[in-house]
């Protein structure tokens, strides 16, 4: 296998978990890597950031724990969930697996629940892919990946036998969507305007008002005045 997931480390995050992230890359391409299973994560270690962390220069105080294979599998999944249009970023290119690794490695209860859920879902993905053509989710074709996701991704099509996996998928999708669209590239893609000082708040544009008036009119309502 030549595919690998390259951790995305920018200057803000590099100081906080670079050591563990780089260590995680060492196994890529090695013979032992290919035999790793999704559950091969390291134990959660480290402490929470405490009740009085430095808010101006935040630090993650725990180590990343996912195995190389889990990270690659997550990246593959995320890129299938949110494939980019031209000019847009792939989730794997904005560090989605790094973020979810940070999330499931955190020493907090909600994240511990998600850890078990995410790992279980990754195992399920591979099992379903193997049934299709004897290859893992990473190795199989895009067509087969979609066949696997089709089993759980659409709420009104899920078979009762797949309901547990679908429930897990719902949370994994929530994490991937949240992780991507809170990244700088995702925020830009949403066209969020803010976090820059301005002297006066301009309010809606004429175009925005016109659109509002149209939808209110369609509802039989009017904007009125303030």
């Amino acid at each position: 296998m030549t595919a690998f997931y390259l951790p995305m480390i920018d200057r803000r995050t590099s100081f906080r978990w670079v050591a563990t992230a780089m260590a995680a890359t060492l196994g890529y391409g090695s013979a032992s890597f290919a035999s790793q299973e999704p559950g091969d994560a390291r134990p959660v270690s480290g402490t929470g950031y405490g009740t009085d962390p430095n808010l101006v220069e935040p630090k993650v105080t725990w180590s990343l724990t996912m195995s190389d294979r889990q990270r690659l599998l997550l990246a593959t999944l995320a890129d299938t969930l949110l494939p980019p249009e031209p000019g847009q970023a792939k989730p794997s290119a904005v560090g989605i697996a790094d973020f979810i690794d940070e999330w499931v490695s955190a020493p907090y209860p909600e994240q511990a629940r998600d850890r078990a859920l995410v790992f279980s879902f990754l195992e399920w993905l591979d099992k379903q892919a193997l049934v299709l053509d004897g290859k893992t989710f990473i190795e199989t074709s895009l067509i087969n990946r979609k066949k696997v996701l089709d089993m759980v991704a659409y709420a009104d099509r899920v078979l009762p036998s797949d309901s547990d996996a679908a429930s897990k998928f719902h949370r994994v999708r929530w994490l991937v969507v949240s992780g991507y669209f809170t990244s700088p590239q995702g925020v830009e893609e949403l066209r969020f305007i803010g976090n820059e000082a301005i002297t006066e708040y301009p309010g809606p544009t004429d175009e925005a008002f016109s659109h509002l008036d149209n939808i209110l009119s369609g509802l039989g309502l009017t904007r009125g005045s303030v």
Binding site: R12, G48, Y49, G50, T51, D52, P53, L55, V56, P58, K59, V60, T80, L81, L82, P83, P84, E85, Q88, E102, W103, A106, Y108, E110, A153, Y154, A155, R173, W174, V177, S178, G179, F181, T182, V187, E189, L190, F192, I193, G194, N195, A197, I198, T199, E200, Y201, P202, G203, P204, T205, E207, A208, H211, L212, L216, G218, L219, R223, G224, V226
Partner: protein, 583 residues
């Protein structure tokens, strides 16, 4: 009598302090939040020397506020954790619903949640800055409907203090003609920011349903005053505000009082109790210096207690002495009783497809609501159409705000995967609106706090124990809130993202509105109240309460402006009493 003339024998002989501080101050102020800092500011401006005791650490908003940091900069993208209940970036230090060394317990049917922080400025560093005025009905509820208690002051008594407080603090908003929502004096209010599309969308439905929607009043500057800057419409007020636009005492009242040279601030001073003389008057304050664990007692002829309603009650109840077996200022037995919060609804998030893909513009605004829905149901109540006696306000937030985990509910609404998923998220970003109702409850014998007979804090002081039971009228009001939200959502073609709970479960845990008040109420009768209209203890004229503990009722309006207005008024009274030699 000079301060140092207080005789040591006034302190019980079995309470010889490890450290007895006889500093040069006229008043000890306990607490640095809305009430304590306002009191210190007024007293220092009047020429008095003040020692402020704050349990938390020193806090510098200029250096410590993460103004422009993004969720991506924070661990877990800023999501809440047990270390930071409200999210990573909130200006909360060593606090939240748990303060490790100071536990609290439960003794009632429903658990009460007590939100605290341990930092100079207290909860003013992260409050929502909502500052509606209480109106004439709010001060005289019992006179109107025979329920609860009247305040010993009227709106007319308080109007000028509201004007002075709003002028000092800086409040944006607009005067309206609404019943029981009195106007500010001309020129007091800062101009409110322009309403946004999603707010006007909700307003259109509300007006058809007969619900008033008006500009919110918030303690945020939209023009610069003194050394503070106007809002620059870019950052979340709950993180604190390094430019001083969103009011907090650490960028205003405390620095101003310090500049007089008459304020001494002792941080990390965990007050445990007041030291009383034989008549029940405080002669000193006992605290633990958290920097070294040493017990200290500071002598003072006047004590202002403004530790927040529940901590104030705990300190009073723990100030037991031979002459005051029920605690300080508690001959009425009312300390800890009449605990109130604003019953708050579950947050209801709805998705409005009509807002999908609308034209983009800067929708961030002033870091919180520009419009809201105050209570306007007085006529319906007068006609007997409602099965609850008082009212509620509801707020709503939405639109294209800073993308955070879950994307304000968008991530819960989507289905499928692939290119359609990616497109749907971008279409729906800005189509979510969250509604929350906050109502008025009546004082109840079922809702109070006392001392736990067994559980103690790290320093051996009894923990506070909460008792709570919702009244039928609270649940009836919750049902009405829910129906109102349903009508608005349905009228606008929305679908609920949240699963709406029923009845009592529609209310969040008591305390979670973080508007707790009422534990040492003011009143005209020493047998039924703890303090008089000036916050002066009936049992101890040199003890003043300057926080929300003195509220006889909790109208469906955020309490902080009234806490500050009362503290301003009552501190002026206190200063005049000291200067006249009566204290």
């Amino acid at each position: 009598m000079s301060l140092c003339d207080i005789e040591s024998e006034q302190i019980s002989s079995n309470d010889i302090p490890l450290g007895l501080l006889m500093a040069n101050h006229d008043v000890v102020v306990i607490g640095s939040g809305a009430g304590g800092a306002m009191s210190a500011h007024i007293l220092c401006a009047a020429g008095l020397n003040v020692l402020m005791l704050e349990a938390g650490r020193e806090y510098d908003p200029v250096a410590e506020t993460p103004m422009f940091q993004t969720p991506a900069d924070a661990p877990l993208r800023g999501a809440p954790t047990p270390d930071k209940d409200k999210g990573f970036y909130w200006a909360v230090v060593d606090g939240g619903y748990t303060v490790t060394d100071i536990p609290y317990t439960q003794g009632g049917e429903v658990d009460f949640k007590w939100f605290r922080t341990r930092m100079l400025g207290g909860r003013t560093n992260h409050w929502g800055r909502w500052t509606p005025r209480f109106g004439p009905y709010d001060f005289k509820g019992k006179s109107r409907d025979g329920l609860g208690e009247d305040w010993p002051v009227s709106y007319e008594d308080m109007a000028r203090w509201y004007d002075d407080t709003e002028t000092l603090v800086g409040v944006y908003g607009a005067n309206t003609e609404l019943e029981n929502h009195p106007p500010s004096a001309p020129g007091v209010l800062h101009a409110p920011p322009a309403p946004r599309v999603y707010e006007l969308f909700v307003k259109a439905a509300c007006e058809e349903l007969g619900l008033p929607i008006i500009p919110a009043r918030r303690a945020v500057l939209t023009r610069p005053i003194d050394e503070r800057n106007a809002c620059f419409y870019a950052t979340d007020c709950m993180r604190g505000c390094s430019i001083g636009a969103a009011f907090q005492t650490t960028t205003s009242l405390i620095p101003w009082a310090r500049r007089t040279g008459r304020l001494t601030v002792q941080t990390r001073a965990q007050v445990t109790n007041l030291k009383l003389d034989k008549s029940g008057r405080p002669v000193g304050v006992r605290y633990i210096d958290l920097s070294n664990g040493q017990e200290q007692i500071v002598i003072s002829r006047v004590v202002v207690l403004a530790a927040s309603a529940c901590e104030t009650a705990r300190i009073l109840l723990n100030s037991r002495d031979e002459g005051s077996p029920n605690g300080a200022a508690n001959s009425s037995g009312q300390v800890g009783k009449n605990l109130l919060d604003n019953p708050q609804s579950q947050a209801v998030t709805a998705y409005f497809p009509k807002l999908d893909g609308r034209p983009n513009y800067n929708e961030f605004g002033a870091g919180n609501a520009h419009l809201y829905a105050p209570w306007g149901g007085h006529d319906a109540q007068a006609r007997g159409e409602l099965d609850f006696p008082r009212g509620y306000q509801f707020m709503f937030w939405g639109g294209r705000q800073t993308p955070e985990m879950g994307l304000a509910g968008v991530a819960d609404t989507v289905d499928g995967y692939g290119a359609p998923l990616r497109a749907a998220i971008k279409q729906r970003y800005g189509s979510m609106i969250k509604f929350v109702g906050q109502g008025e409850m009546l004082p109840s014998s079922q809702c109070y706090a006392d001392l736990d007979p067994e559980r103690r804090d790290r320093w051996g002081m009894p923990a506070l124990r909460f008792h709570w039971k919702w009244a039928n009228s609270d649940i009836a009001m919750a049902n009405h809130m829910r129906k109102t939200m349903d009508k608005i959502i349905d009228r606008l073609g929305g679908s609920r993202v949240s699963e709406l709970r029923e009845g009592e479960a529609f209310l969040t845990e008591p305390g979670t509105c973080i508007h707790e008040v009422g534990t040492a109420r003011m009143g005209p009768d020493p047998r039924q109240s703890v303090v008089n209209e000036y916050g002066q203890a009936w049992d101890a004229p040199n003890l003043f309460l300057m926080d929300g503990s003195v509220f006889p009722s909790s109208p469906c309006k955020n309490p902080t402006l009234t806490i500050m207005a009362l503290a301003m008024r009552n501190s002026r009274y206190l200063a005049s009493e000291i200067k006249a030699g009566r204290l």
